[in-house]
């Protein structure tokens, strides 16, 4: 099961550079990156702290606006449930164009907004959670899909302003809530 998280700082920078003409380079990069981030299994003796420290979850940094690869696990009419490796599935609407391609098992790229949709309502002491992640579907990652969707990619490529510029080192988690 591939549930690799794409820490796409490099790609983003790349895509930002080429976003005007084409994103061929970024596409290749994404595929290469996916191959490298699949979790290795030789971590038998590692402690939890080091596992966590080296995990994609940590390397992801700020969740908001990250491009992440996920896999569709379920489709109920026009809603697709995308498992991207965190606690909850993201629920997105199927795009109108080529909607039959979005079937379970398809790998897609999504823009993660929030790993868990929760809100504190007036008068309550705790957040109310919807038990789903908030994300926007970017496009499908299947090879047959790529050629067709390349034409309209220029619209859906990330705008550079909403992405963090500097690559700050993630800190060790120590504070308990």
């Amino acid at each position: 099961m591939l549930r690799s998280i794409l820490c796409s700082r490099a790609i983003l920078r790349c895509s930002r550079a080429y976003s005007t003409e084409s994103i061929t380079a970024s596409d290749e990069n994404i595929i290469d990156f996916v191959d490298t981030v699949t979790e290795s299994s030789e971590a038998q003796s590692q402690s939890f702290a080091s596992l966590l420290r080296n995990s994609k979850f940590m390397q992801l940094g700020d969740f908001n606006g990250r491009l992440v690869i996920g896999k569709i696990v379920n489709r109920i009419q026009e809603d697709i449930y995308i498992d991207f490796g965190l606690k909850f599935n993201a629920v997105c609407k199927v795009p109108t164009a080529n909607s039959e391609a979005y079937r379970s098992g398809t790998r897609v790229i999504i823009r993660l907004l929030d790993p868990e949709l929760s809100e504190r309502f007036l008068g309550s002491k705790k957040d109310l959670t919807l038990l789903e992640a908030d994300a926007v579907l970017v496009r499908s990652l299947s090879s047959s899909q790529r050629h067709q969707s390349r034409d309209n990619q220029s619209k859906s490529t990330p705008s550079p302003t909403e992405l963090p510029q500097e690559t700050s080192k993630p800190e060790e988690v120590i504070s308990i809530v």
């Binding site: 379920n74 489709r75 039959e100 079937r103 379970s104 098992g105």
Partner: protein, 392 residues
């Protein structure tokens, strides 16, 4: 692990011996407390039933003696008649009247469970209290998942039959009723649960690719016509017969409206001929009568396809009259006659042409009109009218 020992020894229901002694650590007392109670109750119930059965048999003998019948002649119908005679009851509800029936039929049943030798109840969903219906719900859920998966895997490929990727064909049938499902699963459950099951079934049947579960779904379907006759007020839809000479299908029914009784026979493959006491349609001078007679054909869109033969008579004429009075010659009303024929015709059309049952039922033509002339009351000139009352 100390807490297990404490909790377990504190529990009366526990079937294993308290593991205080290491030798009896895993030894199991063959019968637990719960099972013991159950067996005791079961035995008590059996003894009670035995006693009631003996009482019933004695009662039956006494009754046979009272009614001066042979014991072998006294079957259940005879008992019912005897009870009705010996204990006349004016209570309207039949359940409130005295009865005498075998104790197995009327006494509450003892709930029987199956246990293994350690007192464990059978069935993995035992504690859901409705194991069968919840098992069915789970089965539907699992099948729903597999259908979705099957469709997603095979939607583009040519390796499977195209007909397998469509929805299941369930036309002409409906989900079985709650009572039938209860009988099928041999378990009682609430209407809410039945609703849940039907929703789950509907969802599964609506999925593309549910054709692969066609067999499972049709187990819980029944033909649509099977249950419509129970909904009708009055007569049921008659059976279709075949005329031996002409080899034409026909249906015959006897119905009534007000004081008019009509025996209606509708024959298939006809020309739209009417013969009501020898009269044809155009012999009915009143337009309303003709409209009434044609209504079932118009609604079922079978105008000119069936022949109608009907004979009518007056119900009051056939009733016994007091011996000292000479019988009155009564006739049914003129507007009631076509209505009686209409009801009979509609029922026969419903039998010969089942597709038109639903429109006929919805337009109310299959429903008997039970209204009758109200009897006049003593000391009154009519049913409701009163003599003029004047203060001197």
């Amino acid at each position: 692990m100390l807490r297990i020992a404490l909790t377990r020894s504190s529990r009366a229901m526990s079937s294993t011996s308290p593991p205080a002694v290491s030798e009896s650590d895993t030894s199991v007392r063959k019968i637990g407390k719960a099972l013991e109670t159950y067996l005791k109750n079961s035995q008590q119930h059996v003894a009670m039933m035995e006693k009631h059965r003996a009482d019933f048999e004695t009662g039956r003998r006494h009754l046979a003696k009272m009614m001066s019948l042979d014991i072998h002649e006294l079957d259940q119908a005879a008992i019912d008649r005897a009870i009705q005679y010996l204990f006349p009851s004016g209570l309207t509800d039949p359940k409130a009247r005295p009865v005498m029936r075998p104790p197995d039929e009327i006494l509450p049943k003892f709930q029987r469970f199956t246990f293994d030798e350690e007192g464990k109840p059978e069935g993995t969903r035992f504690f859901t209290l409705n194991p069968k219906i919840y098992g069915l719900l789970s089965e539907i859920g699992v099948k729903t998942q597999s259908v979705m998966k099957f469709y997603d895997e095979h939607v583009g490929s040519r390796s499977v039959n195209r007909s397998d990727l469509e929805t299941a064909n369930l036309s002409g049938s409906q989900w079985i009723t709650a009572d039938k499902m209860k009988k099928k699963l041999s378990e009682k459950f609430s209407n809410e649960l039945y609703g849940q099951v039907i929703i789950a079934f509907e969802h599964l049947a609506s999925l593309p690719g549910s054709a692969i579960e066609q067999k499972f779904l049709s187990e819980f379907r029944e033909p649509m016509t099977a249950s419509t006759d129970s909904k009708l007020f009055g007569l049921a839809i008659p059976n279709v017969q075949t005329c031996a000479e002409t080899n034409r299908r026909y249906a015959e029914v006897t119905t009534h409206c007000k004081d008019t009784r009509a025996v209606v026979k509708v024959t298939d493959a006809g020309k739209g001929k009417f013969s009501i006491d020898g009269l044809q349609l155009h012999d009915f001078r009143h337009l309303q009568s003709r409209e009434i007679l044609l209504a079932p054909f118009i609604i079922s869109q079978t105008l000119g396809k069936f022949d109608v033969t009907a004979t009518t008579d007056c119900i009051s004429n056939s009733l016994p009259e007091a011996p000292n009075r000479e019988p009155l010659k009564r006739t049914g009303g003129m507007s009631a006659l076509p209505r009686a024929v209409r009801h009979g015709t509609a029922l026969c059309i419903a039998a010969l042409h089942p597709e038109s049952i639903e429109p006929l039922r919805l337009s109310g033509l299959l429903t008997l009109d039970p209204r009758k002339n109200e009897r006049s009351k003593v000391n009154q000139p009519g049913a409701r009218a009163k003599w003029i009352w004047k203060r001197r």
